[in-house]
């Protein structure tokens, strides 16, 4: 019998936590925190060459600026950091590896003085030949971005190759692809590329660090998705005990992976820990145009996929080669490479698999976590190649997909059996809702219309030992404090957890509070990434709340002298109908109950819960096989209906339908929010986003002036977001992750829609107006494909355009 009753438990549409403060403008983000006049401000001085030895850094003029307190350079802070591979230093030491890399940090009494000081630092370099093209960098070792690669520590499941530019190489070897290819009726071999893209969160990175001069303890306030991961990374880099570092994570203004791990904090620490500075807090606020030069971008990629298909349309073999351009650091970028690798048969069952997924170093800003984590890259190619293959063999693209689909129980590319899912249902609904099979005329005069489809899937990409824990405290007035170190960056985690606690404790959701993470008070959680939180932290929260409930029931049972099973908690009132009892939770829950024997028993009720995925085994380094390589997959599909203006290449989206099997929607309003938001982000990326460089490696799109993202005028008028619920076995309530998934497949769906509309296949993202126009011109000349390799690095952008002719 369920012993709790609540209005806003799991599955309810409920007001979100902290929305009122956000609307009132009073929720304090990191940049809003106030310190006294002792606060110092830092600004980075940046490299003006893409690859070079630092000959000198002259900051004598900077020190003369009124208000400048100190200038530190790389040599003053020699520490290496990294989540999976320790290849990162906050400032360049001896050598710069990308244009814009911090080479010095100016610390001053005001932001303005720091800015003035920054402008007065001059550095001289001896330029080295740079390498920008990841395909070239992967195969040509004449220019090495990290000649000392063998000296970097790394986790076991990442394999860098010293003497090359390969930061990680993930392999799948299953069956015999060569034999299968030789037996295949059809061979399809295609490539797709995509430049780096940016997260585009509205809040730039901001960090304040302070070293306590007497003890050396560090306090870090930062725009971090993962307070504990940040602490771990800093501790390892500095070789400090964990307890010496406290991380406080205020609410962040959007993450999307761009604030995962450690971003700018080490750079700030370089200032705060300097002997001439320490004791005073140092604030590092990254101006928008420096965001992409200081922290993550999404890796660019070139993906080659070869399929072998039998005469019945079954895919019998796949060979994948993925080059991920990870810029100068693979410390985090090594993992999307794995994530794509161990998902590299996509949503399909393919018996023979050969995958090589590489993280390649180049002299550019570095790649890291980005919503989708290797899957937008994989599916950006896979779902296009699948579409091409279907048409090549003369089969309907949906039929082809369904014929090969990874049904529950069939092995994924790592050999792990696929979990239960309702992908068939989702496909049917999407096809139906955008009338995929109906050829409809364009609604805009003179335009052409097309429809496209793509599948999506992803598993949480995390180490096998990514752990979560939570503490539930019931206060003396029946309210609850939940300590769960997930960062609620808008996805609604605290709302979902409050619903879970409400479900387990029968306490109304308004009485449940969830403070933002502080490593000093919260118990450990690995990271807020990977769409893992409602699942992994959800398990911990459920256990903690259940633990608190058991304790509460046991106390009341003894207090009332009844069986615990006869007690219920309903909307915060503890009841025993048998005995006619109904009391609100009060100070007894804190101070103890006066028991029949006259003694006080109880004391504050605290529930605790921990969780770590119990059965994940890392894929074998050679074959990529494992009986359980990931915890589960969330699957889905996207259908897009677009129109194209043949005269300009402008693309407008008429309608999108996007559905995902979430297992259980804990917080439907937030599930809907994730699907809508991620779909728009995916469309924006697919249609207009890309980072471009000139021939010297200078980023031409550092800020919103030239890195364009979707505005209110770019949103499709009709966006159908839905979900299915096939329960996940190991899960708090049957739920799986959904945060990232909607970002994964809008781009390939659009590419497929454009093929439907135009009859020419575009192999390069983004599908911007000029590119679409070019494609149409090419089609007029009888071309069937448009391939634009964005890495015209060795030539100037101007020269690259000459390819048009």
């Amino acid at each position: 019998m369920k012993q709790t009753v609540t209005k806003n438990g799991v599955g309810a549409w409920t007001e979100r936590k902290y929305d009122v403060e956000k609307a009132a403008g009073t929720l304090a983000f990191t940049d809003d925190l106030r310190f006294g006049p002792e606060l110092l401000h830092a600004r980075a001085v940046r490299s003006t060459v893409a690859h070079g030895e630092i000959l000198s850094i002259d900051f004598s003029e900077a020190l003369k600026v009124k208000g400048v307190v100190k200038v530190v350079t790389g040599k003053d802070f020699v520490h290496r950091f990294g989540l999976y591979l320790m290849d990162r230093t906050p400032m360049a030491i001896g050598k710069v590896r990308y244009m814009g890399e911090p080479v010095a940090l100016v610390i001053a009494e005001s932001e303005e003085a720091a800015e003035e000081g920054m402008l007065k630092v001059t550095a001289k370099y001896r330029e080295l030949p740079p390498i920008f093209d990841p395909v070239k960098a992967a195969t040509d070792n004449s220019v090495l971005v990290h000649p000392e690669l063998e000296t970097y520590d790394h986790v076991d499941f990442i394999t860098p190759f010293p003497g090359t530019n390969i930061g990680n190489w993930f392999r799948i070897r299953r069956g015999d692809v060569d034999k299968a290819f030789s037996e295949a009726e059809y061979i399809v071999e295609e490539a797709v590329n995509c430049p780096q893209i940016a997260h585009g969160f509205l809040e730039p990175h901001c960090c304040i660090c302070r070293e306590e001069p007497a003890t050396g303890d560090l306090t870090i306030w930062s725009t971090a998705q993962s307070a504990f991961a940040l602490r771990d990374i800093v501790a390892k880099g500095l070789k400090y005990p964990l307890s010496k570092i406290r991380v406080i994570a205020p609410p962040i203004g959007g993450g999307f992976g761009g604030k995962a791990g450690m971003t700018v904090e080490a750079l700030c620490l370089a200032g705060a820990m300097n002997p001439d500075v320490r004791g005073r807090p140092v604030k590092l606020h990254i101006p928008r145009e420096e965001v992409l030069l200081t922290s993550w971008v999404r890796q660019a990629y070139v993906a080659k996929i070869k399929l072998g298909i039998d005469k019945d349309g079954k895919i019998i073999a796949i060979r994948n080669t993925f080059y991920f351009d990870t810029g100068i650091s693979a410390e985090y970028g090594a993992n999307p490479v794995r994530s794509a690798g161990y998902s590299s048969t996509g949503c399909y069952y393919i018996p023979n698999v050969w995958t090589d997924s590489y993280a390649v170093y180049t002299n550019k800003p570095f790649g890291g976590a980005y919503r989708g984590f290797g899957l937008p890259e994989l599916m950006g190619a896979m779902e296009v190649v699948i579409d091409i293959a279907a048409r090549k063999i003369g089969m309907d693209p949906i039929e082809f997909r369904l014929k090969n689909i990874l049904k529950p129980g069939l092995p994924t590319c790592t050999g792990m059996p696929m979990n239960n899912h309702a992908l068939d249902t989702i496909v049917g609904k999407v096809v139906d809702r955008i009338k995929l099979n109906e050829k409809e005329p364009a609604t805009r005069k003179g335009w052409v219309r097309g429809k496209g489809f793509a599948l999506a899937l992803k598993a949480p990409a995390m180490p096998a030992d990514a752990a979560s824990s939570a503490i539930v405290k019931i206060l003396g007035d029946g309210t609850v404090e939940l300590l769960a170190a997930t960062m609620d960056m808008g996805q609604g985690a605290y709302t979902a957890y409050s619903q879970m606690v409400s479900e387990e404790l029968g306490i109304p959701i308004e009485k449940i509070r969830c403070p933002y993470p502080d490593t000093q008070s919260h118990p450990y959680d690995w990271q807020t990434v990977a769409s893992r939180s409602c699942w992994s932290m959800g398990m911990a929260v459920k256990r903690a709340a259940s633990d608190a409930r058991q304790k509460l029931l046991a106390l009341y049972a003894e207090y009332w002298q009844v069986e615990p099973e006869s007690i219920t908690i309903e909307h915060g009132i503890v009841k025993c109908r048998k005995k006619g009892k109904a009391e609100p939770i009060d100070e007894h829950i804190q101070s103890g109950f006066p028991m029949p024997d006259g003694n006080y028993k109880g004391g504050p009720v605290i529930g605790t819960g921990s969780f770590v995925p119990p059965d994940v085994i890392y894929p074998d380094a050679e074959t990529g096989q494992s009986p359980k390589s990931v915890v589960h997959f969330t699957v889905g599909a996207v259908g897009i209906d677009v129109e194209v203006d043949p005269a300009t290449g402008a693309v407008e989206v008429n309608k999108v339908s996007a559905g995902y099997d979430v297992g259980k929607a804990i917080s439907p309003m937030n599930v809907r929010g994730q699907i809508q938001g991620g779909t728009v982000q995916g469309i924006s990326a697919g249609l207009m986003e890309g980072m471009y460089y000139d021939e010297h490696g200078r980023l031409l799109t550092p800020d919103f002036t030239d890195y364009k993202i979707a505005t209110a005028m770019d949103v499709p008028p009709d966006l159908d977001a839905f979900w299915e619920e096939t329960p996940e076995e190991l899960s708090p309530y049957g739920n799986r992750g959904v945060g990232e998934h909607s970002m994964i497949s809008p781009a390939p769906a659009m590419d497929n829609a454009l093929f439907d509309a135009l009859g020419i296949r575009i192999h390069s993202y983004p599908l911007g107006r000029e590119r679409v126009y070019k494609a149409m011109q090419a089609k007029k000349k009888g071309e069937t494909d448009l391939w634009e390799y964005p890495y015209a690095q060795e030539q100037s952008y101007k020269n690259a355009i000459k390819e048009w002719k």
Binding site: A28, E112, G255, R288, M489, A712
Partner: protein, 165 residues
């Protein structure tokens, strides 16, 4: 060389002492009005939007000294004396139009100035009015709903363009 600037901030007269280069954005934040955000400081994102004499403007493009004699409104000024949210703020909460919350104050101020001029907008009107406010989280769709809902509530309550609140 610092100079004084006098203006009305959320209904109260204030005097700031600022350098000429200090933008209104930075001056407001320095004073503690932190709802006005630093998203880009170059006029591209809208997180710094305030309403000055009924016109929604990006405060990063305004020097603090230019506020002399004007009336500046931010979301803190929309909250009532008993903590009641303005209908626009409430509509954002009700419709799930908020995720991370960073674009929210600016978005609400744009919507506020817009609805006072256009009390019965079409969806197209709303898209144009909010085109200067970026949001990366929500995909804008619930924001459009929230503005429509707020418009309806304001019409019902008799919020007349030009009148306070």
């Amino acid at each position: 060389m610092k100079r004084d600037v006098h203006f009305i901030l959320n209904g109260r007269p204030v005097t700031f002492s600022v350098e000429p280069r200090t933008t209104l954005l930075r001056a407001l934040r320095e004073y503690g009005v932190t709802s006005v955000k630093r998203g880009c400081e170059e006029g591209e994102c809208g997180t710094c939007t305030v309403v000055i004499d009924d016109l929604a403007q990006k405060s990063c493009m305004i020097l603090a000294l230019e506020a002399e004699g004007k009336s500046v409104l931010t979301v803190e000024g929309l909250v009532g004396p008993k903590g009641e949210l303005h209908p626009i703020q409430q509509a954002f909460v009700d419709e799930g139009a908020i995720q991370c919350g960073f674009c929210t104050p600016g978005m609400i101020m744009s919507a506020y100035a817009f609805l006072r001029k256009t009390p019965d907008p079409t969806e197209e009107d709303i898209r144009v009015a909010l085109a200067g406010n970026l949001c990366r989280c929500t995909g804008y769709i619930p924001i459009f709903r929230a503005v429509q809902k707020a418009a309806a509530v304001m019409r019902e309550l008799g919020h007349i363009p030009g009148r306070a609140r």
